[in-house]
Symmetry: D2
Subunit: 351 residues, 4 copies
């Protein structure tokens, strides 16, 4: 097979450089344009010493026409509000596009504008974008797509935690909102500088932020859960910052609508994910993010409290892999009818 | 005033050594017996280099009669199941006792036996023990007590987060259990050795443990919340481990029973804690544990979600101070009619 | 005694805010002006949540005349090159000045200009400044000084490690340069933003920087060692960054000029530091920074290799306390004939 | 090619489980016996959740005869003093052996006995063992070997830092011992439990241990440097503990015997390592361990101080990979005439 000519726009942020790491080792990929305005014309190894053997690559500034001519697929690792217009133009040049920003995730432009305080992409573009979470029912659509809205990190872990419950109508949707208590490593905040990511402020700390239902992943989670439930629903989502560079956990509190055994619930999950290599059920007493850092896996553990009839679901991912760049490569594999797992089978470096 | 002759049994665990640090600097205290079977006859500075100037002190083995004769008050920093009998004997010797274990916290012996799988203390002893959380209504009882059941770390942060809501009947108790998503630093697991506290297993990790309502702090929280509510209630409590030595956060999800403004809710909290020096309301966007590490403070922030009518309360403490040894010293101060804050006013060393 | 009216210029950097923490608890100090251009007119607790009880204080912009009128002593926590002119003006207003920058540490202006690439302070000012390291012979001069050049963090740990050797002529100065392999926590780089202090770049990392004798603390160390030796000497100084917020270690490799027993060397150290409360000899197998974090102590351990006749000296401090703000307060105590240790006796919060 | 039947004895320690991770992904290897007495008969995923997809593997107890029959090569990841006898027996069964312990590294049995306080392996076995550091001249011997003494982590980083200097006679051996200031992540201490590896004791700490030339890697370093120099020499080696799970740095202080430019020194290094894929020269201002964590690379930076005529060499490796298990796999590749890099090309997961 001819290699897939692949470019990255926004190649020097954390998701961009993670795409470089994955794609440079992908047997079916040839990297062509690595666009970074910040580091244009610099060699990769001047900026990222861990890429020391990628001596043939350098960052370039954007020449959209040339990039489009020399790329089959383009990954957009740009800030929100910058990606939609770029995606539209690349599609017109017949490139496939995988957008890691939030610009194309919300189907309803008005909801986007309310949460992002910025004009939404036009509705035709939104309609064209496929939500790139293969495991919750999008696998076939992704395979036929030209434009992927790559999911957010918190939504990925949340949706994988809850999809089997909704698919099997196990959740009591009228009792109370599902509580999503989420925790992420610091790389989720990106490589740009701020006091919140200063080492001295973050180390030895653990903090809650954007508490009270104001984080922008809330509508993305509600949209996809609503589709799975067949009706609108609300979640109470709270993010926290863990003093580690990578790793993300969602602890989801789910009121059940009938008395089920833990065994039967586990069976629902096993069946739902039987064809999903990257989702692993975990039966251990402790569930930690460390087992999935550096990997594209999501590990899920299930805990039933018979006193309250709540199911507590714990799911863990690497926010930069299954939560961003790994998932994007998985989507590329599907778009090109490659094995879904190619280039993504690394295990965690432990401890 | 004559100094209070003070002893510690279990002086070389993390709560014990923290008591040494606090009490050695307390102007009204004279340390007499520092009991550690592990390190008996060793000087403190051989074991704990941070105590380098406490050259006059050494660890001793237990001589209960002598200790009781030479002590006005004894802190028990012993494992659960070991403390109740010791407390009883010391009371018979007319010592006051502050027990940092869980042995005397549950008023109902049967509940203790169910959760701890161990015979409860006799009911007279349980009846004598005062729950040592001054801020939620026990201040006067503590002042007159001979025996304190010092609260658990998770219950302390949880009860301080929720007491004003219950006291003012703001919580919708019939809607759903209150969700208590809690996170603690590793010192909560103590100084004894286990894989779970091995540096390599814990660093870069964040893990959920005892998920599904099985952690032993659940009945303690429910007991005290029930008293505040005037009726039984249930919580869904889940602990997590943060890869930091100290610090504890509770994120509590509280369904409200009417529409209230955030301003009015804050007013309830301000009034409830107006005489409580160690509780601080925090109006910042982020609430982190780092601001209270090394201190006896609890910081609380309040976040109202009008979409769901949930109040999300974030409270942070140092698990070894307000969550254990600092609170114990605060109780001692109250028992001896000293200013509640004496020896406990240190600010966090930041960053 | 009337309280010392004290101001801080540069009060919101890490050394400035550490001065606030120390001085707000100092029984002989009254804080008057806390100058921060960045946060002028903001209350402290808006910026620093760990200062939650210092509700009466706010940051102000600089009004030098008013500040000078209302201050007995002024701490300068300003960047290098900004402090000398300010010091001069404050002295003219009859304020005492403790300068935490490097501007006044090098006696020779030409050396300053060579290493800092900036004009040196005038020679009269340099001549007036007393090097503020009481333990190596400056205690009396400090007591009579109006202007203190507060030492650098690396020089403090280095000079305390080596002074007894030089004072007793034990070092073989002709054999080889003394090797100073130094390691510091990240707060040494300050609160300003840079990739080098981004959490994700720093955590899980340990890096060497300014290797090859190019760090600016080199001439400061050589100047003071030279005075102790009575002749010029060279050191090979290399700094490293530890992924912790605070703490600093120097490992010094010292060729001896005769065969001495470890016991006799320890005796030299004990005698040299017999009146220095803040220097502690440590006889443990391991010497770690953790035992002194949050304190003004320096712990030193001595290790003799009979094979090579090298003495390896390990010394640890908290870079923001004995390495900066704590030392500055110690100097203030001496300047006002107060007990040297007042306000500085806190032990490390451990673990 | 037929796959290499491979077993690991001591498969559940940190080097053992790292071998599992590497070898399970190695295209030419078939894992047969994973011996762990601790976890015999347990599935890997019960003990190590990061190995969740290796569902076909379990730990077994040792059946040496069967293991030998079913193995072409055996990795010994056993404690020192346990490996030599096992190696001997396996060789008699015609297995090849790669020993990760120190038992066979010292050519001189008497030196071993002096430093390890344990009887040395017999001299025939010692003579048969090839020191497994391909890059310093052993590549051909390794290719023909049946028994490999896999180097220690500190010696690997040290020897790679210094070999080009000695090979080109650039070092002034009479001036002073070479100073080796070394720093390692905590996994170097293994998975067994001790206070020194307790999270609370280690986090926020940085400590020196076995200071004064008493660490057992000293004679290993001196042996191999001596061979390169053609004469005996001494080093002053000091290890330190970094509060990170993986990563190791050596800062080596090297007196030069003539005036050389940095450029010419770099040229010597480039030539010496031109065929060594895993050694990378780094020209960046900072050299950190993070760029090589999770990889088999060694990065080296060179810094010349013209004032002292010292070359300061900084070298970084992952202590469990190039410092142990990765190097062992590299040696296996060479023994089987496979490309040296197969299974070892992963880049660091950064940040």
């Amino acid at each position: 097979m001819k290699k897939i000519k692949t470019s990255i726009i926004g190649a020097s942020g954390y998701t961009g450089v993670e795409l470089i790491r994955l794609l440079s080792a992908h047997p079916q990929v040839e990297l062509t344009h690595l666009v970074s305005e910040t580091y244009q014309q610099q060699e990769l190894i001047e900026v990222f010493p861990h890429l020391a053997h990628l001596t043939h690559l350098k960052f370039v500034s954007l020449d959209l026409t040339q990039l489009a001519q020399q790329s089959d697929v383009v990954f957009l690792a740009l800030p929100h509000t910058k990606a939609a217009a770029m995606a539209k133009e690349l599609l017109q040049h017949n490139c496939k596009v995988i957008d890691l920003s939030a610009d194309l995730r919300l189907n309803d432009g008005a909801t986007y504008e309310q949460w992002y305080q910025h004009p939404a992409a036009d509705s035709a573009l939104l309609a064209q974008a496929v939500y790139g979470l293969a495991e919750i029912g999008y696998r076939e659509q992704i395979a036929g797509a030209s434009l992927i809205a790559n999911p957010g990190c918190y939504p990925t872990a949340t949706l994988l935690a809850l999809a089997p419950l909704l698919n099997n109508k196990l959740l009591n949707l009228s009792a109370a909102p599902v509580i999503i208590d989420a925790k992420s490593g610091v790389s989720g905040a990106g490589r740009s500088l701020s006091l919140a990511t200063h080492f001295c402020e973050t180390s030895n700390n653990f903090s809650a932020y954007q508490v009270g239902g104001i984080h922008r992943h809330t509508p993305e989670i509600e949209q996809e859960l609503g589709k799975l439930a067949g009706k609108e629903l609300m979640v109470q989502f709270t993010p926290h910052l863990i003093p580690i560079p990578r790793g993300l956990m969602v602890t989801a509190y789910c009121p059940l609508n009938s008395s089920l055994s833990l065994k039967s619930i586990k069976q629902f999950y096993t069946e739902y994910y039987q064809d999903s290599y990257f989702v692993q059920l975990n039966n251990q007493e402790r569930t930690g993010v460390k087992a999935v850092i550096g990997t594209n896996f999501c590990q899920i553990s299930l805990h039933l409290d018979l006193r309250t009839n709540y199911l507590v679901v714990v799911s863990v991912i690497d926010n930069l892999l299954k939560g961003a760049s790994g998932q994007a490569v998985q989507n590329m594999n599907l778009m090109y009818q490659l094995p879904e797992t190619i280039g993504l089978t690394a295990l965690a470096v432990y401890p």
